[in-house]
């Protein structure tokens, strides 16, 4: 009989790489041998992790495989298909795919004769009621062979009771006696169709349930939900709304960066943005608080804003923001969108309360959740799987996500938030995935085939958005009521002009603006002369500037600059104009840049202390005064900085195929070294991995020395030990011919615990007996023949057939375990 380890050993390099890519936890930390890889792949935690991310259909398939194996023999693929209930061709195709998936994840493994075995430990990982069935009976009960036939004589109601329990869950509440239902249940219990549970409950035994299910394990295969009922939007609408949203987000982030450049908000002590600053930002951008929080988070994720880490820290635009600002709208959008997709931030939690009742602030370092990028991508994948233009509801998306990973259903609120964010970002348009969104996903997952048919396989998100953005309009219709309308999307130059000189009133297909005294003043303040402003307006307005608008600009220009203000660091005042005039002309003071504001007031670009020193050096006797004119004695300010803890950025790690490939190469080297020492005992190894070299002792470090001995099968390990020790195979028995990979022999030294575990798990699954070297409390070894029942939580539960007792041993007390020779029980 083949084993899981043997199966793994027989995989090609590519298959192993694929496995490591799909189950990255197997490659971290680096496994040294294929045996430890197998041990890890069958450990509870790794299996749980793998099961977490399989879809409902794969779960059904592995459920069915475990149940069928429990009931008799390991099933063939056809038997699995039948058990899951794939009646039609479509269903069969999907189930087939699920079986392939399960095999690729090494949850199931095919034997040479085509039967499918569950990976050791999988049954435990699935829990006691796989497929909604009761746990297998521990002892043989007298259960009827044909429940359906028995039911003919059943009292009324009995059939309904069984119907209710047939497809699980298999436990029902015991109805009160004396009622018809109670009688029916009593009858069923009498005839062995139900079993008493804990007094209040009855359980439908597994065999009965399976008989009632007609030998199947599932009523029907859990097929992937399709968004067939979702409304389909006109592609033009999707493109227009997505482009509008994208353009809006880019514009708002630009405004955000510009605003924070002028008025950087301070960082809270806990890190994060104060609620008041957030509200102010929201008001300035004319969005609600939640939207503002999302914008701030998105900009920070894209690296456009950051904590300046000064003494009094503030959030300021980064150097990257300057690069970003110089780009075109589609490129700017792509930067934001990519950052959003990969970000671990959870902006939708901003404004909610945490466990301690404190408000969660935007940019709070604690608002990261490692699962968020996966959720975002999963949501986009669900949308991409729907027909082009389909706009599934939050419920649809949530259902699809539940199907994709039934053991890890994302919170509904998070799904809704991701959908809302996607809509704001323009990844969705009118609820349907836009071509830009599709390209974004294609780009992130390296699958150009996700590009829309309409645009061909566009894998560049920026280009896809660029195609959807309406052509920019250069023209504005200026009107007598001081409004202007840009009948389309304004071009960059026009947008800039309007930003400068007008107030936007509404946006959408067009932009309407109003010119007010304040807005014109803003333009003049920015250094644009009135004539230039009118010239630019005239160019944009097809040469027509209405009289009231022209009058407004001229009128504001007339008032502009009547009052002037400037900066000076210090001043000198004296009653003697001649003295001050002399100071201005004095070349020794030229470095301080003194100038007269009035005959008796002089200002300079130097600190008061410097100025005082310079004046004293010139032989004058100045005194310092404060704001109220009182004479003060200048004291050098005390300066201290606060020591701040280093922040460490989260490490971004993702097992890439090439990294996995390196792992596999090492594994191969380790096992092939071992294999080259004993080619005869591991025929299948030799076939799948021809020994590349033999210098293992030289290149392997100490750890892999020990691990290396456990590679592959126990037989290998023995050989490996042999290579290291002068007396190999002293205690090993020869392997039976033909059973190349069978762990039939030997025990030696102190093996890696993982190897022991895999031997025990395999034995538990195949109900084989194992020689176990136990170390007693006094340190003395004790060798016993045991039948492992279950390995879980660091404990082995096993049956000692000779003493007819069950025992539980901590795994660390097991020095070694070897399969007892099946031929000599």
């Amino acid at each position: 009989m083949a084993t899981f380890t043997g199966y793994l050993r027989a995989r090609s390099d590519d298959e192993l790489v694929a496995l490591l890519v799909r189950r990255p936890d197997l490659a971290t930390p680096h496994p040294a041998t294929l045996a430890s890889l197998a041990a890890r792949a069958t450990s509870r935690s790794s299996l749980d992790r793998a099961l977490t991310w399989v879809d409902a259909l794969v779960l059904q398939v592995v459920d069915a495989a475990v149940v069928l194996a429990d009931e008799g023999a390991a099933p063939t693929r056809e038997a699995l298909l039948a058990a899951v209930g794939a009646d039609d061709a479509d269903g069969a195709r999907d189930v087939d795919r699920a079986v392939d998936d399960a095999v690729a994840l090494a949850l199931l493994w095919p034997d040479d004769d085509g039967t499918l075995h569950a990976a050791p430990g999988l049954a435990d990982a699935l829990g006691p009621s796989a497929a909604g069935l009761a746990p297998p009976a521990t002892h043989e009960a007298d259960e009827p062979d044909d429940p359906a036939a028995l039911l003919k004589d059943a009292p009324p109601g009995a059939a309904q009771v069984l119907d209710a329990l047939t497809w699980g869950p298999p436990v029902g509440l015991l109805p009160p006696t004396g009622t018809p239902a109670g009688d029916a249940v009593a009858w069923l219990v009498r005839h062995g169709l139900l079993v008493r549970g804990d007094g209040r409950h009855v359980v439908l035994p597994r065999t009965v349930a399976l008989a009632l299910r007609g030998g199947r394990t599932h009523r029907a295969p859990a097929l992937q939900p399709t968004a067939a009922g979702a409304p389909v939007r006109d592609p033009r609408t999707v493109a227009a709304e997505s482009a509008a949203a994208a353009e809006r987000t880019v514009r708002l982030v630009r405004q955000l960066v510009a605003r924070w450049e002028q008025q950087p908000p301070s960082v809270l002590r806990a890190g994060g943005l104060g609620a008041r600053d957030l509200r102010r930002t929201a008001q300035a951008l004319d969005v609600d608080d939640a939207h503002a929080a999302w914008l701030v988070e998105s900009a920070a994720s894209a690296g456009l804003l950051a904590d300046d880490r000064e003494e009094a820290p503030t959030f300021v635009p980064t150097l990257e923001a300057d690069v970003w600002l110089a780009q075109d709208v589609p490129q700017r959008w792509a930067v934001l969108a990519r950052a959003w997709l990969a970000s671990t931030r959870t902006p939708w939690l901003v404004g909610a309360r945490d466990e301690r009742g404190a408000l969660r602030a935007a940019l709070d370092p604690e608002l990261t959740r490692p699962w968020v990028p996966r959720l975002r991508r999963a949501v986009l994948e669900v949308l991409a799987a729907a027909p082009v233009g389909a706009a599934p509801t939050g419920d649809d998306v949530h259902d699809a996500l539940r199907w994709r990973s039934p053991r890890s259903v994302p919170p509904r609120a998070a799904v809704d938030a991701v959908l809302a964010d996607a809509e704001r970002l323009g990844v969705l348009g009118a609820g349907a995935l836009s071509s830009a969104g599709r390209a974004l996903l294609a780009e992130a997952s390296g699958r150009p085939d996700l590009g829309t048919p309409a645009h061909g396989p566009v894998a560049d998100a920026a280009a896809a958005l660029g195609a959807d953005l309406p052509a920019p309009v250069e023209e504005i219709l200026l009107q007598g009521d001081l409004t202007g309308v840009v009948p389309g999307r304004p071009s960059e130059q026009l947008e800039e002009l309007l930003d400068l000189a007008a107030q936007v009133e509404s946006r959408g297909g067009a932009v309407t603006v109003r010119f007010t005294a304040d807005s014109v003043l803003r333009a003049l303040d920015s250094g644009l002369p009135a004539d230039d402003l009118l010239a630019r307006l005239s160019t944009a307005g097809r040469g027509r500037v209405p009289q009231p608008l022209e009058y407004l600009v001229r009128d504001v220009a007339r008032r502009h600059g009547r009052v002037r203000a400037g900066a000076a660091s210090s001043y000198v005042r004296a009653d003697d104009p001649a003295l001050l005039a002399g100071l201005v002309e004095d070349p020794r003071l030229a470095a301080l840049r003194p100038r007269l504001l009035a005959p008796t007031v002089l200002v300079a670009d130097a600190s008061p202390a410097e100025l005082l020193d310079a004046l004293r050096a010139r032989g004058l006797a100045p005194v310092a005064e404060d704001a109220s004119g009182t004479v003060v004695h200048a004291v050098a300010p005390e300066r201290r900085v606060r020591a701040r803890p280093r922040r460490t950025d989260p490490v971004h790690e993702r097992p890439l195929p090439d990294r996995a490939a390196r792992v596999v190469a090492t594994l191969r080297r380790a096992s092939s070294d071992a294999g080259s020492d004993a080619p005869a005992s591991a025929g299948s190894d030799a076939a799948s991995s021809p020994a590349p070299g033999a210098g293992r002792g030289a290149d392997a470090d100490g750890a892999s020395d020990v691990d290396g001995t456990g590679a592959g099968t126990v037989a290998d390990r023995v050989r490996a030990v042999g290579a290291r020790r002068p007396a190999p195979g002293g205690r090993s028995r020869p392997a039976p011919a033909g059973a190349a990979a069978a762990p039939a022999t030997g025990v030696a030294g102190t093996p890696e615990p993982g190897d022991v575990l895999v031997v025990l798990r395999e034995a538990a699954q195949s109900r084989a007996e194992v020689w176990v070297d136990l170390v007693g409390p006094d340190g003395r070894p004790d060798r016993r023949l045991l039948r492992p029942l279950r390995v879980e939580g660091g404990r082995l539960r096993a049956l000692d057939p000779r003493r007819e007792a069950e025992l539980t041993v901590a795994v660390h007390r097991i020095a070694d375990a070897t399969l007892a020779d099946p031929t000599t029980p």
Partner: protein, 551 residues
């Protein structure tokens, strides 16, 4: 369509490009459900509001039509959320109906029991609703018909009032169309009102709203109560009715501060109805004095709050509201909607002007730079004094002089807010003055003299804002106003909008003090007119001499 004339904005405004080939067709298509917000020269702005959409529902348009219209004329794809919102909003109108139940009398009938449940659970309907008849009906106390409708609009479930009207006391009234006839749009307005039962007709000043009222009365042929803003207006209604209908002076009564006549057609002022004596409204018996078949509200946008309360009790009678604008400075548009009724007819000013029924007008703002001493006084004045200081700047007299001289021989009105200023002005230009203190008889005399051309200049206070008819005024000079009231500006422009015998262009001048709140208020007031398409020209007082050249 890819290059339609309409652009739909996400904030529910619709931009109509006027110069587009299909602009006229599009305007007709969207007029029933969108409110014209402003109509400057190139792009007109309409707005979709819940009230507007309900008005459209009341007029028999459904959401599908509205959505189709938007899609048909829109240049860019229409935001999906907006379409959903339109459909949702429109579907709310009429889910509840006020009907006469054969057994229980007036009931609120729901087409959707869930809505009724929501409404009856609301605190605001407590006391308005009686016993539950069944799942879909609940008894309404007849006296609360109006209040209930008000509350339902506020709850977002406007009820369709199908309970009908009392016929009222019949009284034969005919239009005396000898040598004149109702204009087509007036006919449409009457028809629209009559078909809808109750509601508001929106027509620009000078477009003949009185005749629409007369038409409705003829159509109804019942005793009629007409509510107007003031006594002068009441007299004008009486004169017009005598002239245009078969009614005689004896059939028309005036119910005002001076006279208390109740006749088959009674014209009452808002003022007298809202007069309280010892804390109670003492003239409400008028409402029950006769079995009125029709109640006409003139200048419905000025309806004072107590009249709303009274109107709430008049729900069983047909109600016709007449106004130039639904814009209310107090934002109580929804009460007009629920108590008087939905808008039944509307025509943009410019359209009617284009048809030649009102005079084209030219608006000019004259900016006066204050002399230094006045600027200093202004700069140091208390904020509440500032407007008065700026509005009554002495330099304005000179500007008015120049303008009067420029339009010598034309019928000229000088309108202002502050009596001191008006007295001074009247003296300055040698004209008569009409204020609130002027006796009605004297007012009538001066108006008649002005009408006949005997005098060409008249200085009036804000009493002239409403409902006085000065057919030949062709120049108006506004020296001060009620702060930033937009509807006052509209009314004042309305004074000179009546068509002139010689088809001349009317002139409207506003004199403001530069760099003061006066200028800001002027800007606010003008906004309404600028939005109606009357572009302002702004000139400096110093350049006034060149005005002729500038034009």
């Amino acid at each position: 369509m890819p290059d339609g004339p309409l652009i739909v904005q996400s904030d529910k405004t619709l931009l109509l490009e006027v110069d587009h080939d299909q602009a006229a067709a599009c305007r007709r298509a969207i007029a029933p459900f969108a409110e014209l917000e402003r109509a400057p020269e190139h792009v007109h702005t309409y707005r979709l509001t819940a009230l507007g959409l309900w008005n459209a529902r009341a007029a028999g348009h459904d959401a599908e039509q509205v959505v189709d219209t938007l899609l048909e004329y829109s240049r860019y794809p229409v935001p999906h959320a907006l379409l959903v919102d339109v459909a949702e909003t429109m579907s709310r109108y009429g889910r509840l109906q006020l009907v006469q139940h054969p057994v229980h009398g007036l009931v609120l009938h729901a087409l959707d029991p869930a809505v009724l449940a929501e409404v009856t659970r609301s605190k605001r309907t407590a006391g308005l609703l009686g016993a539950r008849v069944d799942d879909t009906d609940v008894v309404v106390h007849p006296s609360e018909r109006g209040h209930l409708k008000q509350v339902l609009v506020k709850l977002g479930w406007p009820a369709e009032d199908l309970a009908g009207y009392v016929d009222g006391e019949a009284h034969p009234i005919e239009l005396a169309q000898d040598g004149w006839s109702l204009r087509p749009y007036q006919e449409q307005a009457v028809e629209g009102f009559w078909h809808g039962g109750s509601g508001v007709v929106v027509l620009p000043c000078g477009a003949g709203k009185t005749l629409v009222g007369a038409g409705a009365m003829a159509r109804s042929s019942t005793t009629t109560l007409i509510l107007v803003t003031n006594t002068v207006s009441a007299r004008q209604w009486r004169d017009e009715l005598v002239k245009r209908t078969t009614l005689t002076e004896d059939e028309i009564g005036e119910y005002s501060g001076t006279r208390k006549e109740i006749r088959p057609v009674t014209i009452a002022t808002y003022q007298v109805l809202t007069t309280k004596r010892k804390g109670v409204y003492s003239h409400l018996e008028l409402l029950d004095a006769r079995d009125w078949g029709l109640v006409v509200y003139d200048e419905v946008h000025l309806l004072p709050a107590p009249i709303f309360r009274i109107t709430a009790d008049l729900q069983a009678r047909r109600r016709l509201g007449l106004t130039a604008t639904l814009v209310r400075e107090d934002g109580r548009e929804d009460e007009v909607f629920s108590l008087i009724g939905p808008k039944r007819f509307d025509a943009p000013w410019k359209d009617i002007e284009a048809q030649g029924y009102i005079a084209p007008a030219e608006c000019v703002e004259v900016r006066l730079t204050l002399p230094d001493h006045e600027r200093m006084t202004y700069a140091t004045a208390e904020p509440e004094e500032r407007y008065r200081l700026a509005a009554t700047a002495s330099g304005k007299n000179g500007v008015v002089d120049a303008l009067v001289a420029k339009h010598a021989g034309e019928q000229t009105l000088v309108i202002g807010q502050y009596l001191d200023q008006l007295h001074e002005l009247a003296e300055h230009i040698g004209a008569d003055l009409i204020t609130g203190e002027t006796p009605v008889r004297e007012r009538q005399r001066l108006f008649d003299a002005f009408r006949s051309g005997e005098i060409t200049k008249l200085v009036v206070s804000k009493v002239a804002n409403f409902s006085i008819d000065l057919p030949e005024a062709s120049v108006a000079i506004q020296v001060s106003g009620s702060f930033g009231s937009r509807q006052e500006e509209a009314q004042r422009l309305g004074r000179i909008m009546r068509p002139k015998a010689d088809g001349k262009t009317a002139h409207f001048y506003t004199v403001v003090a530069r760099d003061t709140v006066d200028q800001d208020f002027a800007a606010h007031r003008q906004r309404f007119l600028a939005e109606q398409g009357y572009a302002y020209t702004i000139v400096d007082a110093e350049d006034l001499g060149d005005l002729g050249v500038a034009r």
